[in-house]
């Protein structure tokens, strides 16, 4: 029995598109491992190969080269998915079913039946706070409610690996909070979670490790703390001042940019000059109304990686 929940070795995918079967390499050979009890994030721009990676792991698309294993079993074997829960991106489940009926279907597909199935469906409905709406047809649900039922389906049978493709997209703050809590709870229970998202704050908050995919290849992979950049920029807002007044006090260089919006002057200041600039502005009699970090560190890493790689994504997606 393998000690890894997910293992990829040289996994790649080339699609053939169009009438002439033009080749598009959606994923270059990649290697990564997800351990039990670990939250692993896949991040990258659209078309970077995140969804393709997930589909390869679930055997929804077939690899061009390489191997993928779940709990040591090749993903070609249906048994590799015995302890797996999955929520696809923007799912449209069987809308003619009620939430409860959908979950019973998922329970039977997970191999549960009878009383065990009933008990499990009740548990997951309770967990995603959907018990009250369980009898309604899914076509009557809002996007958030649908996503909750999808999450409930993924939790059926206490899976050891949960794969979530953009799980918080389109959710209100309450829904996003629920997803975040669920992921943390799963990690606490020893479940491996693999998820991809564009929301960097979620990644920073939840992930133990992250793989940054760009142009179908892993650009960086490691702990979040290893990936974040050291440099930060801050947005400093000075009210009721002119550009000239500000320029008389501070010097513009690589670590400082100025722009004027309405009656406000906004300064984008690097971490190294922040204290000096604040002192100069306040000593010069100007009013600083707001200081905030401009980008969270992982986002900066993400943007910097995009700039250096000069790629945004593949031709697909």
């Amino acid at each position: 029995m393998s000690s890894s929940a997910v293992e990829c070795e040289g996994l790649s995918k080339t699609y053939r598109v169009g009438f002439l079967g033009r080749k598009v390499q959606a994923l270059k050979p990649i290697d990564f491992v997800v351990h039990p009890g670990e939250v692993f994030g896949l991040i990258g721009p659209n078309g970077a190969g995140k969804s393709t990676t997930i589909k390869l792991l679930l055997n929804l698309v077939l690899p061009t080269s390489g191997k993928a294993r779940l709990f040591g079993r090749d993903v070609n074997e249906p048994s590799s998915r015995e302890s797996l829960g999955y929520v696809p991106e923007a799912p449209v489940p069987y809308e003619h079913l009620s939430g409860e009926e959908y979950l019973f279907l998922q329970a039977s597909l997970a191999g549960l039946g009878g009383a065990a199935s009933k008990q499990e469906v009740a548990r997951v409905l309770e967990r995603v706070e959907m018990k009250r709406h369980a009898a309604l047809r899914i076509r009557q649900y809002s996007k958030g409610m649908t996503q909750r039922v999808m999450l409930a389906g993924a939790l059926i049978g206490h899976p050891k690996l949960v794969v979530l493709d953009e799980p918080t997209s389109g959710l209100d703050p309450l829904g996003r909070r629920l997803v975040r809590d669920l992921i943390l709870e799963l990690r606490h229970e020893g479940t491996a979670v693999l998820f991809c998202t564009h929301i960097m704050s979620d990644v920073e908050m939840l992930c133990d490790r992250v793989a940054l995919l760009i142009g179908g290849a892993i650009h960086k992979c490691g702990k979040v703390s290893e990936l974040v950049s050291d440099t930060r920029t801050h947005e400093v807002v000075v009210d009721n001042a002119t550009r000239e007044q500000v320029l008389a006090l501070v010097q513009v260089d690589d670590a400082l940019r100025i722009e004027v919006v309405a009656q406000r002057v906004m300064l984008h200041v690097g971490e190294t000059r922040l204290q000096d600039v604040l002192r100069q502005l306040l000593n010069g009699g100007l009013t600083v109304s707001r200081i905030q970090p401009e980008r969270i560190p992982l986002e900066e890493t993400f943007m910097a990686a995009l700039r250096t790689s000069n790629q945004h994504g593949g031709d697909l997606e």
């Binding site: 249906p78 069987y94 039977s108 597909l109």
Partner: protein, 254 residues
Amino acid sequence: MRQLAMLALAGFREALRNRVTVVVAVFAAVSIALTSVVMDLTVLSLDRVVTDFGLGVMSLLLISLAIFMSVAMLNREMERRTVFLIVSRPISRSSFILARFLGIMVTLTVLLAAMSAVYALQMILFDVPTPNSVPAAIGGIWCQLLLVCSMGVFFSSMSGQLTSAVAVVGLYLAGQWTADLHVIALKLGPITGAIARAGYYVLPNFARMDFKPQAAAGQDVSGLEFLNGLGASVGWSLLFLVGATLMLRRRDFK
């Protein structure tokens, strides 16, 4: 096994909730209304009109529905991404396609039974005698549905809805005249004759499962004749389903 049954049931439930049962009402209305109209126009006997017309309408409606449901099934699952939610569970692609096929067949069988009940009522209403070929003709329609459905699933496992629909309709129509190909082959040259003969052996022969002419003429259908049709239908269907499974094994669910 439970997985297969639950998936098939979900397919049946979907058809019911999408109001596919309306087809039965359409059948009843069209059948009764047109029988009355045709009776005024035809020189044929009442028995023959009622028998032939009811079976014809039933066959036409259900075959059309079978084509529509079978060619749309897989593509719709892929478009709506519902296939992701099923295949990501410990279920093989062949089980998935078999379950969905069974779901469609359950739906069509229930509809055929309901239509047959309406048809029987009509026969009683018009006081038309029922030869044994009428149940055989209804059984024949079921055999044709089985074959059409498996053909639809096979073609949709490798191409889009429109292409699949054209292929199934083409094969269905060609299959109606397969027997004629054998006769035509005798009158053609060596090469064209060989092609026509090859067509006779390669194409599924739908006429073997069609007992409507016998029912309309009040002739009996022997058990052997019926089993012959049933065997051909099951054999061809298995072939198409195995083909669909092999095709789907290599297909990407993008």
